[in-house]
């Protein structure tokens, strides 16, 4: 990757991670118009950052760090996003599932519920759950987030329990 022009690097990154960035923007912003703006901001931040890509980490780590950092910067600058309203994985597991008792209404419903759950989380927990959902392993997640692989593993254990508890039935019924 080193030595490639900025535009070429960007096109490569956008082709490989464009869909993941789209999902990431949805996890940070619920409003569709603002989400579109956030996605554009993330792509702009990525394109600008790639001018100084120096191969100190993989392109994947670079892309996810830029995207999460740009999105975190966005949410903490939004006055309406009150940090006190964010909760951690521990607290979200203790909350009642708003969809409990409802008939699972298909795949779209499960994804919407999952998005709502993620949008409540503190940025760090949000980054870990998104990395897990994107299929990144603990080492890659640790490199992106800056927490140790051991701590990532603990958080992933909690995430798996939470997902099993909240979504297993919905996904199975949808199939």
């Amino acid at each position: 990757m080193e030595g490639k022009p900025q535009d070429e690097r960007y096109l490569e990154a956008a082709a490989a991670y464009g869909a993941a960035l789209h999902r990431l923007a949805g996890a940070y912003e619920a409003d569709p118009d603002r989400r579109r703006d956030l996605l554009q901001d993330v792509h702009l931040a990525l394109w600008r950052s790639l001018a100084s890509f120096d191969g100190r980490c993989s392109l994947r780590t670079w892309v996810y760090r830029v995207a999460h950092n740009a999105a975190t910067s966005y949410v903490i600058s939004q006055r309406r996003s009150r940090a006190s309203a964010w909760i951690g994985l521990e607290e979200v597991a203790a909350l009642a599932d708003p969809a409990e008792g409802e008939q699972a209404a298909g795949r779209r419903h499960s994804v919407d519920r999952l998005l709502k759950l993620i949008q409540q989380l503190k940025p760090l927990d949000r980054q870990v759950i998104l990395s897990y959902l994107e299929g990144l392993d603990a080492a890659a997640t640790a490199e992106i987030t800056g927490i140790s692989p051991g701590n990532v593993a603990t958080k992933i254990h909690r995430i798996k329990n939470l997902l099993t508890q909240r979504f297993h039935e919905g996904v199975r019924d949808a199939e």
Binding site: R23, L124, Q127, G135, F167
Partner: protein, 199 residues
């Protein structure tokens, strides 16, 4: 496996299409730079206009205290311009978003916000106070010679803004304390992570 199902479901959504073409990215990048440059220019232009204005009165005012007050205001504006320049130069580099982990970046952002709130007194509003106070005293002294009531009334010009500034300081202090609590939480998460790694 249930969690693979939800991961597959998650990964099945989202469009891979880039929301902007390269041309649009270049235009947005240029617009971003222009916006920052214009903002800085506006602030420097305000200083460039006000410094000669106060300097003129520092040179020509009849009362010595008035000269001192205007001189202090001109000096305060130059100091603010220097601080603005220093802070604008310290804005994040393009690659900073990728060089720092999410935890480190989040903490740095919060620290920047906290310092901006607490620093407003040390470099933005605070330096103007001695100049304004000196000018108010310079206005009040001749009024006191006329009548005590007239002299005291001139102090309203400093008391009322002082109350407003005190309220601003209180709100800023509260906001900075809230941000500090978030920083403490992140630091606790970081130290838990390190102790977890050692176990």
């Amino acid at each position: 496996m249930p969690n693979d199902d939800i991961r597959n479901l998650w990964q099945a959504q989202g469009s891979a299409d880039a929301p902007l073409t390269l041309e649009e990215l270049r235009k947005k990048g240029a617009k971003f730079r222009t916006t920052i440059a214009r903002r800085n220019l506006r602030e420097y232009a305000a200083v460039a206009l006000m410094v000669p204005y106060f300097s003129y009165f520092a040179w020509t005012a009849r009362l010595p205290l008035m000269r001192v007050g205007n001189g202090l205001l001109a000096a305060a504006l130059l100091y603010m311009a220097y601080q603005l320049h220093r802070r604008a130069s310290a804005s994040p580099a393009h690659g900073e978003l990728a060089w720092q982990s999410c935890l480190a970046f989040h903490r740095a952002q919060l620290e920047r916000q906290r310092d901006a709130l607490s620093g407003i007194w040390s470099w933005y509003l605070g330096p103007l106070i001695p100049g304004f106070a000196t000018i108010t005293i310079a206005i009040a002294i001749p009024l006191f010679h006329r009548s005590i009531a007239a002299g005291l009334s001139s102090f309203l010009w400093i008391v009322l803004p002082a109350i407003v500034l005190w309220q601003v300081a209180r709100i800023n202090k509260g906001a900075a304390a809230k941000i500090q609590r978030q920083i403490d939480e992140l630091e606790a998460a970081e130290s838990n992570a390190n102790s977890g790694a050692r176990e």
